[in-house]
């Protein structure tokens, strides 16, 4: 998985390319730990992400919990496979998806 970060003051956009699964989740987890401090608006661009496993969901959930305290988080360009996963797991209600 490739992580493309774009910082603009309090705004952070992270684009994910490839697969977010058990193997790659730790990579994103460490990236988020470093980058989320002081961010008000987090945007996750999943346009190039093929799929996401529960490891990815866990990261989204923890990120959402943190961002709810310090600002906003939205997820954009969600493909059909991942949207199904969000809906099945109730994440579509938790996340702000555009």
């Amino acid at each position: 998985m490739e992580i493309i970060k774009q910082e603009n003051g309090e705004n952070l956009t992270i684009a994910l390319v490839g697969r977010l699964d058990t193997a790659t989740a730790p990579q994103l987890e460490s990236e988020l730990k470093q980058s989320l401090d002081g961010v008000k608006n987090l945007v996750l661009d999943l346009g190039k992400l093929e799929y996401m496993s529960s490891a990815g969901l866990r990261l989204l959930l923890s990120s959402q919990k943190q961002m709810s305290k310090q600002g906003t988080m939205k997820v954009i360009h969600v493909n059909e496979v991942i949207m199904d996963i969000f809906e099945v797991t109730g994440f579509s209600d938790i996340l702000t998806i555009e």
Binding site: R19, D21, T22, A23, E50, Y51, M52, S53, S54, A55, L57, R58, L61, S62, Q64, K65, S68, E80, V81, D84, I85, V88, T89, G90, D93, I94
Partner: protein, 727 residues
């Protein structure tokens, strides 16, 4: 009688044997008999009366001649001639007409002789006789010796010449002829001394005489002849006319009778026959029936007229009957068509295409139903509830025919619908029973046996609602009855509970179920086929597949029943378990691809790549592939995390592509601590982000995105199977 029947005859033959012809023949024959009798009798009377007159006249002439004759002279002359006759030897008298003999009498022919002859000639002419003469009868020699006179042939006869004389004729001359039969019968018999010679050498003559005197042994008589030829020819004419008239009258009478018969009998009968023939012709030509007898009018006033009325009545009755018959036939045809349709619908309702599941290697199934009437109350059904569970049911509705068939349809649909929501045969039967009881005013009931076979492990779960005992053959054994727990029939009590039982079947085991129509099939002697014969027939075919087993069982029943009618529907169902498609022990089957790897997160990518390769090779849609990848990730991560903690071990991943529906089956096997992911607590997906916990999502996702997931712990291995449709 002719050998042919009247229908085969030609018109000419028919005419010969017609009533008229026969009557004509009969009249002619009768006339012939009557005429013959009449002619014979009438003619005899006629002849007798004529003959009598003739005898009387001749007798009178002979008397007259006797009275007028010079008796002394005649007697003298007679004696003279007879003495010459006496003096001659027998040898000399032998030829009465020879000249030599007659010359002996030359002396006698003197003047007195001439005078006597002249006197006799005169008397003959006076009396209008054919001949008048004097003769003597020689009784010893049987001769009539001519003495004097005109001679019997009205020509000169030499004295001494003689004719032969029969004793009978002599007696008739002296005392009268013998009695005639007809005269005796009529009392007209009268004896007149005379002889009638119808066809003597002097023609037809009547001779009568009076005795002049006796000399020696000779009787001398004065004789007179009268000619009868006129009388004979007259009577012949009479006879011919008589016969002609009688024949003409007979023919005329016959002809009149035939005419009358034709008019009063033959013609009316022919008219009736024609009417009957037109009726049949109409019928054969398929035309509408017309009234033919109505047109025939017969007024003979006898039995034939009566017959025509009777036929008219009969025709009317037939019209009414034909009308009724058409209605009844149309109705029957309609019912027949509908029944045929009903039978087809019913047959189509039951799974009847075999092999039913050609793609399934775990079992072989065959069933059939043979209804006693057009539609039956038996049914069988089988279907896959899911990939691993086969449901089979056999049932028998009370009664037969359409009511039973309707009830059967309802029951069949209920069973199938309910089975789709539970795998438990007992619960299915309970639910069906509840629904049937809710609307069962006719108090019909159904016996049913239902089973669900787990194709993966061979466990057969069954329940019995008052149905016949199942028959099961273990792999190396014989067919045996399983006396299972009978519940109450369906439709009797609303809250009946049905106990389930389980049988572990091994590959090769056969389950056979049937309805009572099989064991209660009767032969002509009223003997039932029975369960023993059924089991014997099954064992004979035990090595065959279910289709052959059923066919042989049917044949055994047919051979037993022979021509006896089938009273009850006959239904059989046979399942043979062939074993799981997945080899339970090694966890692999023939077309399964496998890889083993150390259970750690670093190997997930390799496992995913391995799975992806198989999926892509099988044209798996991208979305399904992504979902499978997620599942692989979740499951393998789980094994890596927990199975061997804190140490590490090996995990085996298998993938297999199956058809109908096309699906990928993944098998994960590890030898770690027993863990059934199915029992994991599911996350509450309705909570807010703050309330939610991070665990439990993985397995939940797998359950939600995959079509089937099954776990088993066996022989120290966790075996998890997930299946995903990749159509």
């Amino acid at each position: 009688m002719p050998n042919k029947s009247i229908r085969e005859m030609t018109d000419r033959e028919r005419a010969r044997y017609s009533l008229a012809a026969r009557t004509f023949h009969a009249v002619l024959i009768l006339s012939l008999i009557i005429c013959t009798a009449a002619v014979w009798f009438g003619f005899s009377l006629y002849r007798n009366s004529v003959n009598r007159e003739c005898r009387r006249e001749t007798w009178n002439i002979s008397q007259t001649v006797y009275g007028a004759l010079d008796k002394t002279g005649a007697e003298e002359k007679a004696r003279e001639i007879l003495s010459v006759y006496d003096s001659l030897s027998d040898e000399e008298k032998k030829d009465g007409s020879s000249e030599e003999y007659l010359m002996k009498y030359s002396e006698v022919m003197d003047e007195r002789f001439e005078k006597l002859c002249a006197e006799l000639q005169e008397l003959k002419e006076i009396n209008n006789a054919a001949a008048v003469y004097i003769a003597a009868a020689d009784q010893t020699a049987g001769r009539m010796i001519f003495l004097a006179g005109s001679g019997p042939a009205d020509s000169f006869r030499a004295p001494g010449s003689y004719d032969l004389l029969k004793q009978k004729d002599l007696e008739a001359l002296l005392y009268g002829a013998e009695e005639n039969m007809i005269d005796r019968a009529f009392g007209t018999d009268e004896r007149i001394p005379s002889v009638i010679d119808d066809a003597g050498k002097y023609g037809s003559r009547c001779t009568a005489g009076t005795v002049l005197g006796g000399y020696s042994d000779y009787i001398v008589m004065v004789l007179a002849d009268t000619d009868m030829s006129r009388i004979v020819s007259g009577s012949r004419h009479f006879l011919i006319r008589y016969i002609l008239v009688l024949a003409a009258v007979s023919v005329a009478a016959g002809w009149l009778m035939v005419r009358h018969l034709k008019k009063t009998v033959v013609a009316p009968i022919n008219r009736l026959a024609e009417a009957a023939a037109s009726y049949s012709a109409d019928k054969n030509a398929g035309q509408a029936l017309a009234r033919h007898f109505d047109k025939v009018s017969i007024a003979t006033g006898d039995e034939i007229e009566n017959l025509s009325y009777v036929l008219k009545d009969m025709e009317n009755d037939m019209f009414e009957y034909a009308g009724d018959l058409n209605k009844v036939t149309a109705e029957k045809e309609r019912i027949g068509t509908e029944l045929g349709l009903a039978t087809k619908i019913q047959a189509d309702m039951l799974p009847n295409i075999f092999p039913a599941f050609p793609e399934r290697s775990e079992f072989d199934i065959y069933a059939n139903m043979k209804p006693a009437k057009e539609v039956g109350g038996d049914f069988y059904d089988f279907f896959l509830i899911d990939d691993d569970h086969l449901a089979a049911v056999i049932a028998d509705v009370s009664g037969k025919g359409i009511p039973a068939a309707l009830f059967m349809m309802v029951t069949k649909i209920l069973v199938q619908n309910i089975t789709m929501s539970t795998h438990s045969p007992g619960k299915v039967l309970e639910a069906v029973n509840r629904q049937i009881c809710a609307n069962n005013r006719e108090e019909m009931f159904v016996t049913a046996w239902m089973a669900v076979l787990n194709l993966r492990n061979g466990v057969l779960t069954a329940a019995n609602a008052g149905h016949e005992y199942p028959v099961i053959k273990k792999k190396d054994g014989m067919f045996e009855i399983i006396k299972d727990n009978h519940g109450l029939v369906i439709g009797a009590m609303p809250d009946t509970k049905y106990k389930e039982y389980r049988i572990q079947t091994e590959p090769g085991d056969i389950v056979f179920v049937y309805t009572d129509g099989v064991i209660e099939a009767e032969n002509a002697e009223g003997e039932q086929f029975g369960i023993d014969r059924t089991i014997r027939a099954l064992n004979m075919a035990a090595s065959e597949n279910p289709e052959e087993i059923l066919k042989k069982a049917h044949k055994a029943v047919d051979d037993f029943v022979r021509e006896a009618p089938q009273f009850d529907d006959m239904t059989m169902l046979c399942i043979k378990y062939l074993g799981s498609a997945v080899d339970e022990h090694s966890g692999e089957s023939a077309n399964m691809k496998q890889m083993s790897a150390e259970a750690k997160k670093e190997n997930i990518a390799a496992v995913t790549a391995f799975v992806d390769e198989v999926l892509e090779a099988n044209g798996c849609p991208l979305k399904a592939q992504m979902q499978i990848d997620v599942a692989v990730d979740e499951v393998f991560a789980n094994i890596s995390e927990y199975a061997y903690a804190p140490k590490t071990g090996t995990a085996t991943v298998g993938i297999e592509i199956l058809d109908n529906p096309k699906r990928a089956v993944l098998t994960f096997i590890d030898q770690g601590i027993p863990y059934n992911p199915m029992t994991a607590k599911e996350p509450d997906v309705t909570l807010t982000a703050e309330e939610r916990e991070v665990g439990g999502l993985g397995i939940f996702l797998v359950k939600k995105t995959m079509d089937d997931i099954q776990y088993e712990y066996r022989d120290g291995s966790n075996i998890l199977k997930i299946s995903k449709n990749i159509e």
